[in-house]
Symmetry: C2
Subunit: 455 residues, 2 copies
């Protein structure tokens, strides 16, 4: 039997209650976004006969088809009165986009509670309220009330996103799209009247399109259920979790944001460790770690790190970070150094970091990695594209060496203007995660190590 969340991501038919064409209204953006959905879309609004080329229905009852998923984009006070009609239409999955519930004071708390009781009684599963809902690249389903002009959607990929915060969902997707990374699915459950963190983890653990999971939480519904779901998920695929509201000031912000208790950070950290999940330290690390675990095909099975660079200062920065992340950097074995010494000019440094200096060319990167990488667990490769001796071709040679050695590699290429951006995207297409600073390349690799080195 499919997981309860399956029908949220794979409905045949979707009704949008509160569809409209007024600019800036959530119901407008959602209807536009649903035009990408490979299924039937039924807008509901008694004031319209047609909306964006769809026939528009005066009520749920008037729709001449069974509805698998209803998306509600009405003002909060109008949501409750829709529930009976939804039940009569035998709709068992609803997403409540509307804000103005538990996060907005006592009245909202009471409304949310009444909706929870009624939907539970009817066996209706609910995502939301106060949420974006779901995004599925597999069938184009997109209940997000942000337009594609404003927020780019990532292409199809293997990472799925679970987020308590709509804002974080959106900026994660925007950042991944910008970096050329694809995603599989995303869910933002907001006030989690019903569907919560653990449900989403359970579903993605077994979703064949999802190879890795990135999760943002401020709190969890039920610690025990969360831990067990996280453990089950992390046992099958890398799971990166960013817990916000770590410290006192953050916890205060959580209270006004999602009206929940942030809980003791130490307990969360212990749970992440026990579950085998990787903790992301913040926004940048969340993006970086997610890219590494979702893109890189090879596990990082140990902590012996090789660094290859054409800029010595960048290797110093990477080495500092490597130490903080628990890597060791044994010297390149003597016989390998001798072979490299024959292939390279005498002023290249062949120890570790291997420094090709400003004179190193594309082929030198390949030579260095081909000879040395088999003796390490992983490598960080830094390319200053400013050197006239390197070109975009370096990216395919680095990727080739990585795939030949079957060892994980992260790259650092400063994201500057046109030239470096092309190299960055070329590397991503070749399966090599790439980062804009040496520290971030090292920390991302460390996240991959934590996710995949299980002894």
């Amino acid at each position: 039997m499919p997981h309860d969340l399956h029908d949220f991501f794979y409905p045949r038919t979707v009704a949008l209650i509160g569809a409209t064409d007024k600019p800036t209204k959530p119901g407008t953006a959602i209807l536009e976004n649903l035009s990408h959905f490979k299924g039937a879309v039924y807008p509901v609004n008694p004031k319209h006969e047609m909306l964006l080329g769809h026939h528009c229905y005066p009520s749920i009852a008037a729709i001449p088809d069974a509805i698998d998923l209803a998306i509600i984009a009405l003002p909060a006070r109008l949501v409750e009165q829709e529930l009976d009609a939804l039940h009569e239409k035998s709709i068992r999955r609803i997403i409540i986009i509307s804000s103005g519930f538990a996060e907005a004071g006592d009245e909202g708390v009471a409304m949310q509670k009444r909706i929870a009781e009624k939907t539970k009684r009817h066996g209706i599963r609910v995502i939301g309220p106060n949420c974006l809902g779901v995004y599925n690249t597999d069938n184009g389903l997109d209940s997000f009330f942000v337009s594609r002009e404003r927020v780019s959607r990532p292409a199809t990929g293997h990472l799925s996103i679970i987020s308590q915060s709509g804002a974080i969902t959106v900026i994660l997707m925007e950042a991944l799209a910008r970096d050329g990374m694809g995603i599989a699915k995303a869910v933002n459950y907001g006030n989690r009247l019903d569907v919560d963190d653990a449900d989403a983890l359970e579903y993605f653990a077994d979703d064949p399109q999802t190879a890795a999971v990135a999760m943002y939480i401020e709190s969890v519904t039920d610690g025990r259920k969360f831990l067990s779901a996280a453990k089950a998920c992390a046992a099958k695929k890398p799971l990166v979790i960013w817990k916000a509201g770590k410290h006192e000031l953050g916890a205060v912000a959580v209270a006004s944001h999602t009206a929940t208790l942030a809980g003791t950070y130490g307990l969360y950290q212990a749970a992440f460790r026990q579950a085998g999940a990787v903790e992301a330290y913040g926004f940048d690390h969340m993006i970086d770690a997610s890219k590494a675990v979702a893109l890189m095909d090879y596990p990082c099975t140990g902590n012996r790190l090789l660094i290859v660079t054409n800029g010595g200062g960048m290797a110093v920065a990477a080495s500092d970070q490597a130490q903080q992340e628990g890597f060791t950097m044994p010297p390149v074995p003597q016989q390998v150094q001798e072979r490299l010494g024959q292939a390279f000019p005498s002023f290249f440094v062949t120890r570790n970091p291997i420094d090709l200096t400003g004179s190193g060319n594309n082929e030198d990167y390949y030579t260095a990695l081909k000879e040395a990488l088999p003796h390490y667990d992983a490598a960080v490769v830094i390319v200053l594209m400013g050197a006239t001796t390197v070109s975009e071709e370096a990216t395919s040679l680095i990727a080739r060496a990585c795939h030949e050695a079957k060892k994980p590699v992260t790259c650092c290429i400063l994201q500057g203007l046109g030239y470096t951006q092309e190299a960055t995207h070329a590397l991503l297409r070749l399966g090599i995660p790439v980062y804009p600073s040496p520290e971030r390349a090292v920390r991302a690799l460390a996240a991959l190590m934590k996710a995949t080195c299980k002894e």
Copy 2:
């Protein structure tokens, strides 16, 4: 009397020894870059009569003009034999670009020592070897051997860069140019045969074009001289220092990079504190802190922080970081909350963080800041440009509120695609530093606080 370094940045005439037109040769890129210099340029190379439209001279002696600065871009082994001719021509400032000296083994160490002795005897000041030299936006002087196609040059601004590493110099400049930030001057002194960290600090301390200094070091020549120069500089303008080679692995990398001893990190940290300099933790923080201190006109004179957002999750992340950086976040005063409550819909949160939610518009940002900012020492303002209710106009309203209150503000706008980039550049033009993650906006503000809150 001007500082000894003055003539390196403001020569009337420059000779380039080793000028050429072969692609990928340093002498080619430097000659191209010198075309931007507002002074006379004399290429020297016996094999050419013309180079890039300049008359080319067979030797230094053949140049029919006094030379204030000679740039040497010859292979290392050919440098030494030029010194007598330079001395006879009364040249008192030389930049040795060439690598292959102390960083390249015993022979190089010996050559470098002989050059140091000879130039000292003749009263010649030397930048390098193994360096990029100088860049001065005030007169277009540019001795860097990287082409402008490869590495963008920042426009004119108020930040000056001192760096022991050429690679770091280049990527700092590239990152600043990408972000629309200008610089005043840059110097990379490489093996510092003569001119060193302390000399550069002394010079920039009194340079009227320099309002703030960003410095990358792996080691210093003389701890006492460095401390005294850093103290003198930080007393006059914000000084941000990134010390690499902090930990054992980094120190090993320093030894092969600049052939120097990284020294004990703790001693450096104590020196930075004593000098009143701000320590940057790594590459990203170096960029972030430099932007904050160079751009922001108002000092951060205390630690009471206001956060304004249209995405709750982003404010939680910012609050977590605020606590780690030593900020406090007192609630918005009751009477101000009441005024905001009248101006805003009831579901906006007016405490602190002020959360305008996905419905907040451009004017709401102005209202929130105008009312609340005067009660704080500084603010971090987060704008999710994905919300349909905000537009680029938010940037000018935020800047207006900042300038009216005369309090420092840093912004967080995710650097996504076209739309957000325009907003980012608009804010920078208005003097507001802007960052791609909430944590980075907070850490940059903390750097400004350390640089400007001196009680």
